[in-house]
Symmetry: C2
Subunit: 464 residues, 2 copies
């Protein structure tokens, strides 16, 4: 067995020079794609615009939850920026979005005894109803799973349900760790209400121990009573857990001033480099323009928004003319409705055919490669270009991934490709006051854009 593995590795090492001889040529440019890729990386790293655009978006506008005035201003900014960058067919595609507001009141106080009260940091989960003005005061019961909750039976009735299952830190892939815990945030309020709970308090979805609560989407079910839901910081969760483990009965007062207002109109921002030979074959490259109302939405997904703009900017400024259309889409409302992704996919576009959709929504960290959600024939068609990304250590092309905003296109059979990045820090910042531009490194952000530009361009020239 040793022999097979060893020869395998040696063969792989030998393969690198073979690939160099096997590199393909961009007939439009009369140069190897390897040369085009080198130019894109060189231009991006020395005079890229992604970070400057992110400074504008986060500094002039900041957080921009769907339905907010800031989201409106972000749409205007996106359109104006595309026009200034000289994209073609710049326009808005509008639809209605939810309009949830946090309000000014947000607090949780552990009532340890009649005289001892401990404030812990919380924030409403997006979409939650508010509490009465005096808050909800009730005994807290801690669970790690819905099974454990339902096994409590009547003991959960009238209680605040504290969902305290942490992200599994042993997982290298932090998105998997997140996926293994986020049911508590999304579905916690519904499951709490099913057993007669009066509120849901959910441990923040982060691998980090700090005192910052992380918000995010939660859902209600029309057939189940609505109860308020909040995230508690991981330090706060540990404090509450510790108190609960030493006391027979602990009460908590939860006050949330949040509410849902009527839907308002918003839009995706769309612009493109129209294909010179097959303009009706389209490659979408997008991130989402909305963010949660915490921090500045710098990594999530200001980074992906500016990378989508920078992808086209890089190609345009380098004089690269794609044969097929490359279209940047700044999606609205990824965070709490996905209305933008759905609206884009549902819109009639006579004569057009999407050959691929690429999303960047994993933070502006160093790129590692791409995840391809497509039929098994399409994956090697993308993987054949991996050698172009080796120069920036982003040549890992694997099955799976894609992204939320392009998932609706994916359902229609369009290959959905997601930029994969170094994800170790993503959930330190995600959906919280930590997500600010000082956490974004200019070079890492730009490298992601160069990877997207190389992939978009080669797919535009060669198809998939």
């Amino acid at each position: 067995m040793k022999t097979i593995a060893t020869y395998g590795v040696i063969f792989c090492l030998l393969l690198v020079p073979i690939q160099l001889f096997g590199q393909r040529t961009d007939t439009t440019q009369s140069r190897p794609y390897e040369t085009v890729a080198a130019q894109i990386v060189s231009d991006g790293l020395s005079s890229g615009k992604a970070f400057k655009l992110l400074q504008e978006l986060t500094g002039k506008i900041g957080a921009r939850l769907s339905g907010s005035p800031q989201a409106s201003r972000a749409v205007e900014w996106g359109k104006k920026t595309m026009e200034e960058l000289g994209f073609q067919n710049v326009h808005l595609e509008s639809f209605m979005v939810p309009h949830w507001v946090r309000g000014t009141v947000e607090s949780a106080t552990i009532i340890r005894s009649s005289s001892e009260r401990i404030a812990v940091n919380v924030c409403a989960l997006g979409g939650s109803i508010g509490t009465p003005e005096a808050g909800i005061t009730a005994e807290v019961v801690e669970v790690k799973s819905f099974d454990e909750l339902h096994a409590l039976g009547d003991k959960a009735k009238g209680k605040i349900i504290f969902f305290n299952r942490p992200l599994d830190k042993t997982k290298f892939n932090t998105f998997e760790a997140y996926g293994g815990a986020v049911d508590q945030r999304g579905q916690g309020a519904v499951e709490a209400a099913k057993v007669g709970g009066v509120a849901a308090l959910v441990r923040s979805m982060t691998t980090r121990l700090d005192d910052v609560p992380h918000t995010g989407a939660m859902r209600y079910n029309d057939s189940i009573p609505k109860v308020p839901a909040a995230a508690i910081s991981t330090i706060g969760a540990n404090v509450l857990d510790s108190i609960l483990s030493h006391a027979k009965r602990v009460e908590l007062n939860l006050k949330l001033g949040c509410q849902s207002l009527p839907d308002v109109e918003s839009a995706n921002v769309v612009g493109e480099l129209t294909g010179t030979e097959k303009p009706n074959e389209v490659i979408v490259i997008g991130g989402h323009l909305d963010s949660w109302d915490k921090g500045q939405g710098a990594h999530d997904d200001g980074a992906g928004s500016v990378q989508s703009l920078e992808t086209l900017r890089l190609l345009k400024d380098l004089g690269l003319k794609p044969k097929r259309t490359i279209r940047a889409v700044l999606f609205m409302n990824e965070e709490n409705g996905l209305r933008g992704g759905k609206a884009y996919a549902e819109k009639e576009r006579p004569g057009e055919r999407h050959i691929a959709a690429i999303e960047t929504d994993a933070g502006g960290f160093s790129p590692r490669g791409f995840g391809v959600q497509a039929d098994s024939l399409a994956i090697p068609k993308v993987a054949q270009w991996s050698y172009l990304f080796r120069r920036i250590d982003a040549d890992r092309i694997e099955r799976g991934g894609g992204g939320a905003d392009i998932s609706e296109l994916g359902k229609k059979g369009v290959p959905a490709i997601g930029l994969r990045v170094d994800g170790q820090k993503y959930f330190d910042y995600h959906h919280s006051d930590n997500d600010t531009i000082d956490k974004v490194n200019e070079r890492e952000l730009e490298l992601g854009a160069t990877a997207l530009a190389i992939l978009s361009y080669v797919l535009a020239q060669e198809g998939i």
Copy 2:
């Protein structure tokens, strides 16, 4: 040509399952190394100690330049920590180190006119002589290279030579960019003196634009007069460049209070897990305990120091008993003398044979793989284990690298292996007040340690 490349990629994709079948078994543990690697990663990410150790080193001791009281305390801390962690044969190996001190005075003032003065941020380069108390006031001449300097001839005489060639940002590999500019820092004072210059002012060695000067080692040549040398922040360098481009003559006053004191005794800190079958075959794993006197030496190289400790801690706490000896070495004086690396390599160790030396000195960022400096037969012997690092995306094993502290062992024919990490941010922090523990991510730091633990262990079991 297309066909070869395409089949190559497809073959590589097919290779992954072949490698799974081809994975090798640790006979001591009676389990595949793949399983051992998974345990190391899982333990490290959930209950690793690297970050806690770095908090101690940076928080209790801070920056620790060779010869300083802090470096002494770091040596004591290293020995005590190894003892507490239960390493074997814990001891110090002592030698003399340089003792350079920065002093309290450090300033540069651009004298634009008799009434207009502009302060810019500078710091002495390590090893520089000081200026007279009133400083050196002289006209500034800017050059981008030594060739440009020497072409000036007599025009450079009596001037402060401003070396302003930036790091080449187009390079993906920031260490290459650094390597392309650092001659100005190391050799600038000598070259300035050769043409009669009175001081050297060097643009900070960073890819970032900010107002923090970055120190680092400089050299004198006994046959050339010594002139003071300082680093100027990149923002300061741009200001000075701009002023010089608009004025016929610009003077600058440079004050440095630094000086060299007599050498003092210091030591490498050494401890090991003694091999159960071949104790005299040794694998060294090390980082350097000294740092510059700016910031906290968190990434450079507190990170590598604690990762070296954590490598042995992981193996020990998981009950993994290496057949060959794995020895942690906290090297002293990497930054300004390399006396520790030299002393370690020169010491007589009767009966012992070093089979590999591994160094971690590129910052506590996400690991990407290893660079192997060895003969062409040794490289595939390391590369055969790349599949063990795939689970943490650190499976890129390439020729080259190694590290400064193990370079002396390398000269004696010992394969020298360096941990490679994501290096985009390294020079943002390097040798400056920016290098503090808040720039280190616990998971990324620990992942580096797990990569080192896996490699050390498999080499201890299988040899090289």
